[in-house]
Subunit: 280 residues, 3 copies
């Protein structure tokens, strides 16, 4: 199964490297229909020792931005050379290309629809158009490339096939505009909610590093005001709104032991503003 | 733990074969109660190197037909000698027998209630009534044979125990009638929806191979007409009904970036008709 | 990664022992946000050969009792020395301590909020306050200790780090009152529903061993009466209420091929009474 390593692969060719190969899956397939299990069958048929990890299969159908966000929070915590297979694919069966991306620390396999905008934006990334059908399943359907193209390519990468043999290098892969929080002239910050999680926590696109220390901050979201920044959920009473540093270094709006997304209400795209003031 | 291989096992007895042993799980247990995790604990206690893959745990409670359909779409993509454990078991604790089935390419462990009708219909299949309690857990409850009988038997198979020692060979395992699409006298085809997936795609039981090439086709489902066959979702505008080849070679009715099951509405059992006409 | 085993670890230091190391995860994180996948990335970065099993990620947000119950039913079925990581953590970021518990058969890693009351109640358990930051991720957030503390500590245990080096031994870990079914003066039993599962089965806290054989029993729950004890679901007609032995040796109230939790209705905390009578 393994092609000879042409020297362009990050992964070593030692048995140990192959054993530890990790493949993650991020899709909008849900878990009820067996589609994800089928992809895992394909992967284990090609790379029997691969470790498969589900990141999420509950991406909202065809929501590329949610997939991008969730993937970006998980990726930094995986071992080097992990292969991330991402299948959110409204254009399946059309002329959209399947691609793979290699960065300094990971591989990605996905449709060319912008869902890999974050890794594509890394300075050392390279991209191939997956046009070598010998790394796909022998029969390719028009509706399930997750099974027929993306899983087998990911498995071949995990099994040691070098990146560059999977297809033709390209430089015009599609990227989507990334979140653009703003620093306004009066010193205040303006961003948006990127994601509402299961607990109703609202993760914004405003980096905590923009909230200069030595200043006090007030926040506004969905017509509600929050008086200052807190360190932990426990800093306020149950049911109270709170602004704090989320686990990925972004400003987060929550309700202690409550659901901010439902209560405000707010969701991806809701505007959030941070206004500084001198600490008296 | 491993009995000596009596020569009747498909799987080789090499270390490599044992390491790659894959066990899949298909149940109606859901994922919230810990039942599935418990089954995996049992499996790893007996076969520490088995690779466990979830096919689905969201089979509608006690819906044998949904389990049969989903399993049938996933099974062809797993490595040879994969052990498929299926627990949809309305008769748990009653006199219904636990069985295992061996085909030319896979093993199955399940209650004898018809859920294994597809593998039982394969020409080279053999069946044992699982009546050797030494391959079960020492204590067997009346309500959770997934934990007490099916998981341990599946794990023993994965660990190399030969199929025929697990029980007594039988020839009267229960089978359910399989889907019966019809070719009518006027050349039209009549079938049913087998499954509505997470996206609302309606997978029918009409094989694409029945839709003779060189003819045009019209479709009817739930009082709606579809004018022709398309190649991909992208062939129609968003929100439009479409008939196309599903990923398993069956006719599928979908709405591009919409939900056909909810919109029509339609579900398992809904009649679908295909009518040929000469291409002008 | 592995510290020298100081002799206090249950697990042998053999390669085989390390290979078979199993880590389970029980959280209230759900599966849609990628939090669980991120934890698995952390674990595989530290313990590449660990086998990770999900017990449940659908614990009701911050419901310690549900987590305790579900964990207690699954734990007995895992291999010796399995590491159980439990993250239901309303106090994340506050002064509540992270702890690890070792019993005669397993390890546990969790916040010190009572969720480990069952293992803490075992006679041979020991507890450490996880205060050795070298076994955590280098940067610790205030909101996601599942990723930053509990997963890395669990992975280090699975990789062979001895229990006692992870922190300082303590004896004041928090425990919650355990279920207290009662034997009343008139011989009847009074308990509560502990858990309603996906099928609507109501698992109580009354041990079957309390229902003396040789007596008949009547049951009352939510104003409904059940005439006797049955052996299996199949003993009654579809849709009928039934009292039987659940799979963990506790009295269970169910509706055959129906949903007792919704029909009665009943849920965790609902009172159930068992009244003995002489068999005529």
């Amino acid at each position: 199964m393994q092609a000879v390593d042409g020297g362009n692969s990050i992964r070593g060719s030692s048995q140990e490297g192959v054993m530890a190969a990790v493949i993650t899956l991020t899709t909008d397939f849900g878990q009820k229909d067996g589609y994800v299990g089928t992809m895992k069958g394909v992967i284990l048929s090609i790379a029997p020792l691969a470790r498969i990890v589900d990141i999420s299969h509950d991406i909202r159908p065809q929501d590329l931005r949610q997939a991008m966000y969730i993937l970006s929070t998980a990726v930094p915590y995986f071992p080097p050379s992990t292969v991330h297979v991402v299948v959110v694919d409204p254009g399946v069966g059309s002329a959209r290309r399947p691609i793979a991306v290699r960065t300094g620390s990971a591989y990605y396999v996905a449709p060319d629809n912008g869902v890999l905008s974050y890794p594509l934006g890394e300075p050392d990334s390279s991209v191939v158009h997956l046009d070598c059908a010998e790394y796909w399943l022998p029969v390719v359907s028009n509706t399930f490339h997750g099974r027929d193209i993306f899983s087998p390519v990911g498995a071949h990468l995990a099994a040691g096939v070098p990146f560059h043999v999977l297809g033709t290098e390209i430089s015009d892969a599609i990227t989507l505009p990334l979140p653009q929080p703003e620093r306004l002239a009066d010193g205040s910050l303006r961003g948006q909610v990127q994601h509402a999680d299961r607990f109703g926590n609202l993760i914004t696109d405003i980096p905590m590093s923009w909230l200069a220390e030595g200043m006090g901050w007030r926040f506004e979201i969905a017509g509600r005001r929050i008086a200052g920044l807190s360190i932990t959920y426990a800093a306020v009473a149950r049911g109270e709104l709170i602004a704090l540093a989320g686990s990925d270094g972004l400003l987060e709006i929550s309700i202690r032991e409550g659901n901010a997304a439902e209560t405000l209400p707010a969701s991806a795209g809701t505007v959030v503003t941070a206004m500084p003031h001198a600490i008296p």
